[in-house]
Symmetry: C2
Subunit: 484 residues, 2 copies
């Protein structure tokens, strides 16, 4: 048996020779790994970066390239939003719900403006304009969008709303790829040495400290000495079914994992040396039900015909709450004033139609007086601009009373409920991996989705929180490792 099978740590005494020696070894080349590499190099450390795929990207490159930033950016100010560090931080904490890491919210709240400037300094372009309305990603090259539940209950009552999604200037969807490209170029220019097709399989320990990693290249094990530290930046575990079964079984309610490799290796490596994995049951999910934009005015009911949330929340928060409902599906109800054909890729189907809500109810085979009663109550108050049950706000709040009516089925298994995991290693605000006792593990750092970070709670997710977490705490980890 080799000492590093099954991600078991290898004592340094068993290393015969080093294949690589460096100050800081970074594992994983998404946005997190790139930012860690950049900052470690800027701090003067030698950096080797190992990526299991054949190039940079990871889940970051599959994202929209949107970063959650607030507290008064140029784009916010230009659009007339008077955001403050206090409101921004308060929102971050609410978004963390029961899983919140207050210290991470506070440091990011304070330093996000400087971080945004840093991104620009790396060469990330922002047009600087504001795109109003409920959009998932801009279809043009706009910058500032509403990307969370800021203006919706209960959030708006505790923190003054402002849009905080800042999207890289890039035409259309998919800004994650150009974002990572810019960060990769910067890391290379600074002299980080990149090895692709190189998969980490174990950490190397020297007593209590991490001294390096075992990396498999060309099916051979290579021994990497990291004098100052190893930074784990390997993403979540959405593609590891065994881990999901053990730690996040509710995620099987949905069916469309998104990510790159995301097999949880970084979490396993961290835990193998005493790291603490927390909030492992948390996951993000969303179904793109707000496209076309008219559909954002819809009302959701569960199979009992009950509403369950103010639908003006972020699409992902609504989707995550939907997935808590029994029956494997929810219905999105629309009237003829707001219905347009759903996005094909969403897998949202027409389940019932009618000239009245009673007809829709009957077509869905719901008992008389359920869905129809819900909609009459909703419409009666919506006409007065009120939602006494869930406090949905105008202008999203609209009476749905223009016949004919339609019920769209959002099925957790067959509609496109994309999802990824949020739980992971517990880290300090400096990116140190913490042991179960709370003390840092010397020489081990981590950031991004192999950690539990800013987007800790599935029900509080906002677009851009993960990339904020990856880029900011990736930098923290790289800088801290270089200082070790």
């Amino acid at each position: 048996m080799t000492g590093y099978s099954q991600y078991r740590p290898l004592p340094i005494t068993q290393v015969e020779k080093w294949d690589f020696e460096t100050d800081v070894a970074v594992i994983g080349f998404g946005a997190t790994g790139a930012c860690a590499a950049i900052e470690a190099r800027v701090a003067g450390a030698e950096v080797l970066l190992f990526e299991r795929s054949s190039g940079s990207g990871g889940a970051s490159a599959l994202s929209g390239g949107e970063i959650y930033v607030g507290g008064g950016t140029d784009a916010q100010k230009a659009a007339g939003f008077d955001d403050t560090v206090e409101d921004f931080t308060a929102y971050l904490k609410l978004a963390g719900g029961p899983c919140v890491d207050e210290a991470k919210c506070e440091i990011y709240g304070r330093e996000a403006l400087a971080h945004y400037q840093w991104l620009k300094d790396q060469g990330v372009p922002y047009r600087g304009n504001y795109l109003p309305g409920k959009v998932i990603e801009p279809t043009d090259d706009s910058t500032l969008i509403w990307s969370g539940s800021e203006a919706a209950a209960p959030f708006y009552r505790h923190a003054k709303p402002a849009p905080r999604g800042h999207v890289i200037q890039h035409m259309g969807w998919g800004g994650g790829r150009p974002l990572v490209d810019i960060l990769e170029r910067r890391a290379r220019d600074l002299g980080a040495e990149i090895h692709v097709d190189a998969r980490a399989v174990a950490l190397i320990t020297d007593g209590d400290a991490i001294a390096g990693a075992v990396v498999r290249i060309d099916n051979k094990d290579r021994f990497v000495r990291a004098r100052k530290g190893v930074v784990l930046a390997t993403g979540g575990f959405v593609f590891n079914e065994a881990m999901r079964r053990k730690y996040c079984p509710e995620s099987f309610r949905v069916n469309s994992p998104i990510g790159d490799k995301d097999d949880g290796i970084g979490i396993e490596l961290g835990v193998s040396v005493g790291g603490d994995a927390i909030h492992m049951d948390q996951f993000f999910t969303t179904c793109p039900w707000t496209i076309p934009a008219e559909q954002a005015h819809g009302v959701f009911v569960n199979v009992a015909g009950q509403r369950f949330i103010n639908e003006d929340c972020y699409h992902g928060r609504v989707s995550r709450c939907a997935v808590d409902q029994p029956g494997g599906k929810v219905y999105l109800l629309l009237d003829s004033a707001h219905f347009t054909r759903p996005l094909d890729l969403a897998g949202i189907t027409i389940a019932g139609t009618g000239e009245t809500w009673e007809e829709v109810e009957a077509e869905l085979e719901m008992p008389a007086g359920t869905l129809s009663a819900t909609m009459h109550f909703y419409n009666e108050h919506a006409r007065n601009g009120r939602d006494p049950l869930f406090d949905k706000q105008p202008p999203i709040l609209k009476a749905l009373d223009q016949s004919p009516f339609v019920a769209l089925e959002c099925n957790f298994q067959t509609s496109y409920f994309s999802f990824f995991t949020l739980g992971g290693l517990k880290t300090s605000t400096d990116g140190e991996v913490l042991g179960r006792s709370g003390a840092p593990i010397p020489g081990l750092y981590a950031a991004g989705r192999c950690t539990s970070g800013l987007p800790a709670w599935g029900h509080g997710y906002s677009s851009g929180l993960s990339l904020a977490d990856c880029t900011f705490f990736g930098r923290q980890a790289g800088r801290r490792a270089a200082r070790a």
Copy 2:
């Protein structure tokens, strides 16, 4: 720094002398530890048992002494219930929900009858009679009660219902104490050596295997050699707030932890040597709302006036689903035909009354047409013996239409929502602690609430599942350790 601070394993090479030597060391003296000790002794092993309190008991002694057993016990047969291993096993699996350990359900389903006989053979008395109705524990010395959601949707559709809670013969509540007393006597009679006021603080490792434990007695560290193995039987982590915050933050919605010490030490020790802790977010909670029994006919609504479950489910399943509702409380609605004063200790208060449901609704300051509409719909169908929304079954299903009406507030923080944790070490059906790769850790065993077992899912709990798990898998662990 000592090698075993913060529950870190101590290499055997650092042990200077053994204070104790034995075959099997059992840590914790609730029902689990007692059963492990008994079986290890029966198998011929020397047994030392260490308990941090001054006597036996643990959380087991605070329980009702009720064990979930099925498949055709004498008591079931005498009462005319034709239970089978298949129905029993099917129910166990449903009760495990997304966290189910199918192998554990299957072995316990097959062997529960023999286990029940074993309990009798140890001297545990059962009167053998059936007590019908919805009771939490018998107030007399009856045996067989309905202690789960067997007859309620969706369970009854997948497994033929039968009562399966088997309560030790003992007048009134609190059968857990006499149950543990009997098991303790048996363990002592068989020659297990018991040390109380002895707290385990670390495991001792010999390469990959567990060779013993460090136990603190009179504030001194004692070194225990366990030639065949260590059995962890230390309960859950309901009294460890830091662990709850990291792994089970939703449990802070409720406020009345129950247990003995239950500080998670067994989980920490297991993980310190590579054990895998799973489903750590799961917890049981219940509020004794079915006492007096008339109140079992009540209807629950959330703060939006919506029902959320068939209220004929087990009181703990209803309570757990209640705690998922927003607003920090739910209301139990009753009419004058079913209201009696709630149990004082439950902390359930009268929130509103009225001659009509509209008046109750107004007194609760709910919008007109919410709670009242829910109750009119419910009553209209209940009069016909139907609950089209949640499939609540007669005879619990009753129209609530006898004026005056009342709404009782079950407040998650101020009412008595007792709770304990369900997540813990992943173990084989033999009680072996499994590492994260799935392989057993040589020499380490565990059972009961420091493991994830039969009651793996908070929403599927049934009374008696924990003691079933503790006693049956405690025996498995003790026997397996003795065979090592």
